[in-house]
């Protein structure tokens, strides 16, 4: 799909949202799903296998969740949109976020995104004043003289002091990193209505070791050292730094929940934990219980996991919660990984 088609599609969707807003009544809940078709590596056999086996699971999961909303199963006050595909871009995620946040008719945003993360190293630093030098302070065209005139004076000298890189969190848009969703950019578009977020990518549920002392004590912070802004996707989506790190077993009753993966998330077609089902089925069952049956986030995770494991394990018993070793071909090592629930596992989706 070329750029023009993408622009047209997104603009039409933007229009639909803009024209839809004035007609809705107060108290609508919004569910949106996102998933880029972009996949980062281009080495055989990855692109073909991804397109054949994995991509359909992403598309189906997004459609399944949206269908729960469209069919009215989530409740008559829900409106939803499936932006899977070319419309999954940073600009559109931010626009959608702004529209929900800025319109009083909407009170709740549930977001689901499936795709690939990318490590986003941002160079940090600051301008330091180092003195003055004699030079041109102004340069203008004098019509009377008919020529450009220089005004000389003392010019302040600023030097860029490079402090180092800060590792930010991000995930790809439909054209890769060029329109990827990034924590520091996203933050200014979120707010109090961003109540539930499920980011199915690697690493966007990580805890962070801010000062390099080996203690992973934060899921988000403001980078004051390098001045690169907001760090951490859970923080960027919820705008809160006080959420429980284990909203499943230790819910904080904050009314916010964010689900993401620490380190590696497996492909959705992966069946290793579920044998005859896969991770896409797990996500769909979770939304069934949460949206359709209005169970709390923790209860829905439990029921979905019991369904997946033939009654053997609830979420608290599962390797998804307790951790699994996943192999990363890039670093050629295994990473201890898990799904994290930040915030309020007791939260129930409104009906």
């Amino acid at each position: 799909m070329d750029k023009t088609t993408i622009i047209k599609k997104c603009s039409i969707l933007a229009l639909l949202v803009l024209f839809f807003l004035p007609s809705v009544v107060h108290g609508y809940h919004v569910g949106v799903t996102w998933g880029p078709t972009y996949h980062p590596t281009q080495y055989d056999p990855d692109p073909y296998w991804f397109a054949t086996y994995e991509e359909p699971e992403h598309r189906d999961a997004c459609q399944y969740i949206t269908n729960l909303i469209w069919s009215g199963q989530a409740g008559s006050n829900w409106v939803g949109n499936n932006f899977y595909g070319s419309c999954t871009t940073a600009s559109y995620v931010y626009q959608c976020s702004d529209l929900v946040q800025g319109n009083p008719n909407y009170d709740f945003l549930a977001t689901f995104h499936v795709g690939d993360m990318y490590p986003n190293m941002v160079s940090g630093g600051y301008w330091q004043f180092v003195g003055y030098e004699w030079g041109v302070v102004e340069y203008y065209y004098d019509p009377n003289l008919g020529e450009w005139v220089e005004v000389w004076g003392w010019v302040p000298i600023w030097e860029w002091i490079y402090t180092g890189p800060t590792r930010h969190y991000a995930y790809y848009g439909s054209q890769g990193a060029s329109n990827g969703i990034e924590d520091s950019s996203l933050y200014s578009h979120t707010g109090g209505k961003h109540r539930f977020t499920f980011i199915y990518t690697c690493s966007n549920g990580n805890l962070i070791d801010i000062d390099g002392d080996g203690a992973y004590n934060f899921y988000g912070f403001v980078d004051t050292q390098n001045g690169t802004g907001i760090v951490g996707m859970p923080f960027a989506w919820t705008r809160r730094t006080d959420l429980s790190w284990n909203g499943y077993a230790d819910p904080d009753n904050s009314g916010y929940a964010y689900i993401g993966f620490e380190n590696i998330s497996k492909w959705m077609c992966d069946s290793s934990e579920f044998y005859t089902q896969n991770y896409a089925d797990f996500v769909e069952h979770f939304y069934d219980y949460a949206l359709d049956d209005h169970m709390s986030v923790s209860d829905a995770l439990d029921r979905a996991m019991l369904d997946m494991t033939n009654n053997a394990q609830n979420f608290g018993q599962s390797v998804v919660y307790n951790g699994y070793d996943a192999y990363d071909p890039a670093s050629q090592r295994t990473w201890r990984s898990r799904m994290r629930v930040f915030g309020d596992g007791n939260m129930v989706f409104p009906s």
Partner: protein, 368 residues
């Protein structure tokens, strides 16, 4: 002869009485057949968990009744009761299949079930608590298969060395400690799972879980699931060989399986509703350093050799500390512009204006 005939009559009468007694013992209690699943759920809270429900405000929070395809037309009921009292709130989520108890998960919203109001206490010691729950569950379910599990627990003195194969069941203890910062908790589970020729059936079993000593769940799928086949057509070696063949078919060039170990799981898994069949799950590691591919998964029904699926697996991105490894991971400036953002915004604005203008022209024409 007469005496013999008389003896025979007595024996026959006794035999009938014994058969009747045995068969009656197998029938669930008369009241349980008459109760609704909601009433049964409350009864389990009272009689198995042992809570004093009179001390709580009892609310039926969720009731769902459905007949999913994967249940083969049987009724599934999901019931959630929320019990609240001053300073204590706890939720019980039940599953019933065809009005038969299957599982309950308990989630305290605040505090712990240890500080709940009990009419029948649960011991703090995990071994004793397991015996008590099994005993109460057996009485409630009237299930003879629980007795051997209960008997086997009498020989257990250390919960950490309780793993054993007992007849056709596998007793297994698992401990999970979640490390989520300063608040950690430990879940201890004891399960009795149907076991056949090295394969266990997670679905056909009885299991109990305690989090930090408080009861968190118990399940009984032993009576609900049956074994569809004990036939073993495919051995472990054959399963691995089939998996390698399947994986190699997916690529024109030979695959690089690398040196990581092959994962082989042997389980009894439902193929039809509530009926279990032997099943091989094979994951072959794949080594493609510049890709996100990590392996190839193949599932084979061991009784027929039929392949359930054959597909690759991988990861969705690159974890920390590996940045810079692909062209998409180049450092970006904080202030770097995102070209599509402005492009789309301008395009959207232009289209809005165009739309309004067109609508105005049409309306004007119509007026004329």
């Amino acid at each position: 002869m007469k005496l013999n005939a008389h003896k025979k009559k007595i024996c026959a009468t006794l035999a009938v009485a014994v058969i009747l007694a045995i068969s009656l013992a197998q029938v669930p209690k008369a009241y349980s057949a008459e109760l609704t699943s909601q009433e049964k759920a409350l009864s389990i809270i009272k009689d198995v968990v042992g809570l004093d429900v009179t001390k709580y405000n009892v609310e039926l929070s969720i009731y769902i009744s459905e007949r999913p395809d994967e249940y083969g037309g049987l009724q599934r009921e999901i019931i959630k009761y929320t019990l609240s009292s001053e300073g204590n709130k706890v939720g019980f989520v039940f599953d019933f299949v065809d009005k038969t108890f299957w599982r309950v998960d308990i989630s305290p919203y605040n505090g712990s079930l240890l500080s709940a109001y009990y009419s029948k206490e649960i011991p703090l010691d995990t071994i004793d608590a397991t015996k008590v729950i099994l005993q109460r569950l057996q009485t409630y379910q009237d299930a003879s298969y629980i007795q051997p599990m209960l008997d086997s627990m009498n020989a257990v003195t250390d919960i950490n060395s309780a793993n054993a194969i007992i007849g056709n069941s596998k007793r297994e203890v698992n401990t999970y400690t979640d490390g989520f910062g300063d608040k950690t908790s430990t879940l201890t589970t004891i399960s009795f799972t149907y076991y056949l020729n090295g394969a266990d059936a997670p679905a056909k079993g009885v299991s109990i879980g305690f989090r930090d000593g408080a009861l968190e769940f118990f399940r009984d799928g032993w009576g609900l699931f049956k074994i569809g086949s004990e036939n073993m057509q495919i051995s472990r070696e054959e399963a691995i060989s089939i998996a390698q063949e399947q994986a190699n078919r997916a690529s024109t060039s030979p695959l690089n399986f690398g040196n990581r170990p092959i994962r082989v799981d042997f389980k009894l898994i439902p193929r039809e509703p509530f009926t279990l069949y032997p099943f091989w799950f094979i994951e072959l590691p794949l080594e493609y350093p510049n890709s996100t591919i990590t392996g190839w998964q193949v599932a084979i029904w061991a009784d027929t050799g039929k392949i359930e699926y054959s597909h690759p697996t991988g990861i969705l991105g690159t974890p920390p500390n590996t940045e810079g490894s692909s062209p998409d991971t180049q450092p970006k400036s904080e202030n770097s512009e995102n070209p599509p953002l402005s492009t789309y915004l301008i395009a959207a604005t232009v289209i809005v204006v165009a739309f309004v203008a067109t609508a105005a022209v049409i309306l004007k024409k119509r007026h004329k």
